[in-house]
């Protein structure tokens, strides 16, 4: 573990100097966030919808042979972090006014988007927390918000990297840790939290972006007096029931609703101490963004015992039906079901497996998959699917009407290691078995049917979490990568490989695109490096 004497953030003098000479002036009007990104990529998903769709067409199937690397920014001087031998960029870069913001745990860099040159670097000294990943920042006017492994919300000047203020919102000693990117909506900084080692309840906080004052908290499990407590054996089980909010959600400005995916139930694999559905873990919840009040929920994995951790992005899309557009939401859930809901009401349209699975006996009246108890982890072992998707975000193209997801088809044996009446923590373990294949799928969210699929050939089993958050564009591009360092561009409508390039590492974060000085860039992290591509003149 690294040790440092001083508990403070530092900015190198050189970085400060360079920022003084920089002509950049970053300022993002919060009212413009959520519009289709063209010259910027201002939020984790580009806009509020989670579609990760760009209207840009400069880079198209016809000119991919002119796609060329413009610059590479490599992280140096960080070295091994505890549990992470080398830096891996798992963030989605944000780009505003010509400045790119990228992160790894404890570190934030501002780069000149035209050259990849470093403008400033913010270095946090953590006191605990889990350094597994960092998904990126949020931007509001000229302020950048950054979350640390030990659960500090840091407000920084977007132009200099100077700290404005910091606020701690969870205790790392309770095994809470943070990896998320804050979501900025109007005058709210929405912050989620992770950590499932010690049976803590998940929550979502909203802070004032100017002052850091807490505006509201929504708990992932019900508190005293809430009827949803009926889905727990008692209040103590609910108070220790998990449901972390560790991936950014989406937002519908018309309905004024946040859509947040909630993580796995605790104890994780040992469910015998918590009979019931265990709301609102493993759910998609719709919350009023101004009050944090729950409008509706849809529980994707009632009484989960497989760490199905429902954190894949809920994508918002509109379907023109009978002259009146339907406002829908689709999620390629980690439990292997594709879920399409009416996002005003939470009523389901489609709930259908997108990987081979046999752990569910059918759907409830509300459309929620009913688990088969024999498939629960057991002392002798129980075979079930591995997570079918994970945190890397899927994409949706309004042009094709298809949702794209890098899925994993594979199985594991789930063992119970704690068969007591009152288990705690994980209470079990998982051992992968057989082949696990990564399959890129294009699925029609209105039917749940697969339009096309591409199994990436690989002798090695698919890692469950590596891989980029996808990007699709109006020029029929779908940009992904395999687990063998190849950046691959598919045609979005048919899944044909149009172009590829071998990198030095697997793509490991979100792929973004924007116009800068009239030139369309494609930017993403792979391992310790950030790559920027555009067309050769």
């Amino acid at each position: 573990m690294k040790t440092r004497a001083v508990f403070c953030a530092t900015i190198s003098a050189a970085a400060l100097l360079s920022s003084l000479f920089s002509a950049q002036k970053v300022s993002l009007d919060p009212n413009t966030i959520g519009k289709a990104p063209v010259t910027s990529w201002p939020t984790f998903n580009g806009d509020y919808s989670g579609e990760r769709y760009s209207t840009l067409t400069q880079i198209s199937p016809d000119n991919l042979n002119r796609l060329a690397l413009q610059w590479v920014y490599r992280i140096t001087g960080v070295g091994a972090q505890r549990g992470a031998p080398v830096p891996i960029i798992k963030c989605t870069p944000l780009q505003v006014d010509g400045v790119l913001y990228i992160t790894i745990p404890d570190h934030l860099w501002a780069l000149d988007a035209g050259t990849g040159k470093e403008l400033w670097h913010y270095d946090w000294v953590d006191h605990g927390g889990h350094l597994i990943g960092q998904r990126g920042v949020g931007i509001w006017n000229s302020t950048v918000f950054f979350l640390t492994p030990d659960n500090w919300l840091i407000s920084l000047d977007a132009n200099t990297g100077k700290e404005n203020w910091r606020k701690n919102y969870a205790d790392a000693r309770k095994q809470y840790f943070s990896t998320s990117a804050p979501l900025i909506v109007k005058n709210h900084v929405i912050v989620g939290v992770g950590g499932d080692a010690m049976d803590m309840p998940g929550f979502l906080d909203s802070f004032d972006p100017a002052t850091g004052d807490l505006q509201w908290t929504w708990w992932s499990t019900p508190r005293k007096g809430d009827p949803a407590l009926e889905t727990w054996p008692n209040e103590a089980a609910s108070d220790h029931g998990g449901g972390m909010t560790w991936m950014p959600g989406t937002y519908d400005p018309v309905l004024n609703l946040l859509y947040w995916p909630t993580g796995n139930t605790n104890p994780v694999f040992a469910g015998q101490g918590r009979p019931g559905a265990n709301l609102w873990t493993e759910s998609i919840v719709a919350l009023d963004v101004d009050t944090g009040k729950l409008k509706w929920y849809f529980q994707v994995s009632p009484h989960d015992t497989h760490d199905f951790d429902n954190t894949t992005a809920p994508i918002l899309f509109d379907h023109p039906a009978n002259g009146k557009p339907e406002r829908l939401l689709v999620q390629a859930a980690r439990n292997g079901f594709l879920v399409t809901l009416d996002r005003a009401t939470g009523k389901y349209l489609v709930v259908k497996p997108y990987v081979p699975l046999d752990y569910s006996s059918g759907l409830s009246a509300e459309g929620e998959p009913i688990p088969i108890p024999d498939k629960d982890p057991s002392v002798g072992g129980s075979i079930n699917i591995v997570n079918a998707s994970n945190w890397p975000a899927p994409a949706y193209s309004p042009k094709t009407g298809l949702v794209y997801v890098n899925s994993v088809e594979g199985k594991a044996i789930y063992y119970l290691t704690d068969d007591s009446r009152n288990p705690s923590g994980y209470g079990g373990t998982v051992v992968g078995i057989g082949r696990a294949v990564r399959v890129l799928q294009a699925i029609d969210p209105l039917t749940g049917n697969t339009a096309w699929r591409h199994a990436y050939p690989n002798l090695n089993n698919a890692p469950t979490t590596v891989g980029p958050s996808l990007l699709t564009t109006a020029s029929n591009l779908l940009i992904s990568g395999d687990d063998q360092k190849n950046l691959i561009i598919f045609s979005a409508d048919r899944g044909e490989i149009l172009w590829h390039h071998e990198l030095n590492a697997n793509e490991s974060g979100g792929i973004v695109t924007y116009l800068l000085d009239g030139k369309q860039y494609i930017v993403f992290g792979a391992g310790d490096s950030l790559y920027a591509w555009s067309l050769r003149q």
Partner: protein
Amino acid sequence: MRRHFVTGLRANRINGLRYCAPLLWAALLAGVVGGLEVGGRTQQRQAGGEERAEQDYQNMTSGERAASTRAFLGLGAIPDKAAALRGATHFAQNCGACHGKDARGAMGPSLVTSDLVLTDEHGQQLSAFLKKGRPEKGMPAFATLSHQQMIDITEFLHLQVENVANRGSYKMLNILVGNALNGKAYVEARCMTCHTAETFAHIASKFRSPEQLQRNWIWPARYGTLTAKVKTPEGTFSGWLKQISDFRITLVDRSGKTHTIDRGPGVDVQMSDRLAGHQEIIMTLSNDDMHDVTSYLETLK
């Protein structure tokens, strides 16, 4: 041999690899034992919302596993086990009646997930608390305990936390829960089309634990490899597969020579999987059958 891939063309994409029945090259396979195991080691497993660092649980000692998970999770100070052992006695005498012998809760709440315990540092906060108790909630003061006894109790509690939080320290229970007779019947009915009794002779003695046995009879990765036949305009190449992607295939032929072939127009790849039958078992095996067979094979020492 090496052919250059032509950008933009992909005439020979394999749509969802088709694994066919095992063909030949048994002798060749014997030379590549472990090929898939190496690949398996790089697999990342699920870990409660976050990806777990690459770990080879199969090859780590239990101590290494616990230490690695402890570092990965950023857990706090390592509990003093000697103090915890002393503390166990004091805890049983003074606290166990209300909080359960393992502190997971009984009449009183679980202390393992208690904020006070989790935020305590080396007994400082907890010993102060124990001196006063929480009389309004029925928790008496334990002022008669010596300071050392209190510290020992808190170390016991920290060890219980460690046992929960550090999932690298988890121990398997006895997984032999099946019916060996039923397992024998399954093996005789289902396995003998490909295997002989020799496969199973003393099989249990080859593994250090029943869970290793269970994993390996279902998926004997050390024997598994894919073989491929690649037709190119320059000729046909056969051998065991070292790696394949959408763009390239690497195989080792019978003479031990490695061929890397770029996949483009006119290149046709056919693959076969020696473990196709086992993959099919994985997709359909019931838990009862799995338990029964493992319990049977465990008798074949």
